[in-house]
């Protein structure tokens, strides 16, 4: 190892997003899957709990939009950070800018698209 000062990595930015997404993926997503995937379709607690009007109104409100934005965006950052590092382990090395741009690009695009749709909706 050389004596010169090693270069500071920008990884903390992505790791912080990955960590935040990880918390959501662990605590919020299972509850959301339960509500939207099982309870809602089975009519628990009532059939219209996930009706279009209700969900649309939720997404149109500021707290609702903010919640949806965090869940979607941070989950994407979490997933693509993991995919990026898993690719490295599979031999697609992280030195390659194209891998980096592709992985974090999808997360960024997903984030911008979510923000746009929520703001427009």
């Amino acid at each position: 190892m050389s004596k010169q000062m090693p270069k500071r990595s920008n990884e903390p930015v992505f790791w912080a997003l990955f960590g935040a997404g990880g918390v959501l993926a662990a605590f919020v997503l299972p509850a959301l899957i339960l509500i939207t995937g099982l309870a809602g379709p089975m009519g628990v607690p009532s059939a219209d709990v996930l009706s279009y009007q209700r969900v649309s109104a939720f997404a149109a409100s500021w707290p609702g939009a903010f919640f949806l934005f965090l869940v979607i965006s941070l989950s994407l950052w979490h997933a693509f950070h993991r995919i990026y590092h898993a690719l490295h382990e599979l031999g697609v090395h992280r030195g390659l800018p194209v891998v980096r741009v592709l992985c974090y690009g999808v997360a960024l695009a997903g984030t911008l698209l979510t923000a746009f749709l929520l703001a427009a909706g």
């Binding site: 190892m1 000062m5 090693p6 270069k7 500071r8 990595s9 990884e11 903390p12 930015v13 790791w15 912080a16 590092h85 490295h88 382990e89 090395h93």
Partner: protein, 249 residues
């Protein structure tokens, strides 16, 4: 007790003569107490004196006799032939490290990394004898104690897939020892060590596989040291703008 025999397949490589490593099998008698290291010593004493491997204490203290046993990093002094019988053993030098000869690996890379983290207490100010001892509470000692148990045996480097992919990565043991000094209340060297932590080759080379902690013979948890320092590196990354000029660099 009657003696049984077990086959030990050993990787042989003499860089002066061989173009590539090969395997050689020896039949070794063993009893209930025979360690793998003793099996190798039997080979060296009785069958082939040219077999090369490192060892010293025979009791999990010196950290010299780490090798791959059937693909798993182990100290050969605390692995026993009885546990592999009636199967055979394949003994190879530690993975990810260059072979010096047979089972002995070149440790230079690790030793340079160890030196780079300044593995000693860097006091805030020099203390004179009149100042008396530097006292620590049991809680302060507890914070670094497990990391000071590292014996530099390099099993964690053989276990780490990231070090295998990129040997520029500082690696588990060096990071555990860096953390050992950073978390010691007598030490004030954290700022000097942070640039190493913050680099891609520092904590960010780790993807939390955790195998390093699994193979450690001394119960050190290098994966925890690395990942705690991901937090400190992230704090350092964002809060350097808020700290007084020059405080975090």
């Amino acid at each position: 007790m009657t003696q049984q025999e077990i086959n030990i397949e050993v990787l042989r490589y003499n860089p002066e003569k061989d173009s590539e490593p090969s395997y050689e099998t020896f039949q070794v008698p063993f009893s209930h107490e025979t360690s793998v290291l003793q099996g190798l010593q039997f080979i060296k004493d009785q069958l082939d004196g040219s077999l090369t491997f490192r060892w010293s204490c025979r009791m999990e203290i010196c950290g010299s006799c780490g090798m791959m046993i059937n693909g798993v990093p182990h100290l050969t002094c605390s692995a026993f032939l009885r546990d592999y019988y009636p199967g055979k053993l394949r003994i190879e030098p530690l993975s990810h490290l260059p072979i010096e000869r047979d089972l002995a690996v070149d440790q230079t890379d690790f030793l340079q990394k160890l030196e780079s983290i300044q593995p000693y207490i860097i006091p805030k100010e020099t203390r004179s004898l009149e100042d008396g001892p530097f006292k620590q509470t049991p809680a302060q000692r507890e914070r670094f104690y497990q990391f000071s148990e590292c014996i530099n045996c390099l099993l964690c480097y053989a276990a780490c897939p990231q070090y295998g992919l990129d040997s520029g990565f500082l690696g588990p043991a060096a990071m555990a020892l860096l953390h050992r000094y950073n978390s010691d209340s007598r030490d004030a060297g954290q700022a000097e060590r942070m640039p190493i932590v913050n680099a891609q080759e520092g904590v960010w080379g780790c993807t939390l596989v955790g195998y390093c902690s699994e193979v450690c013979p001394k119960g050190v948890d290098p994966a925890s040291a690395v990942n705690r320092n991901k937090v400190s590196s992230t704090l350092d990354y964002f809060f350097r703008f808020m700290a007084p000029r020059g405080a975090s660099e």
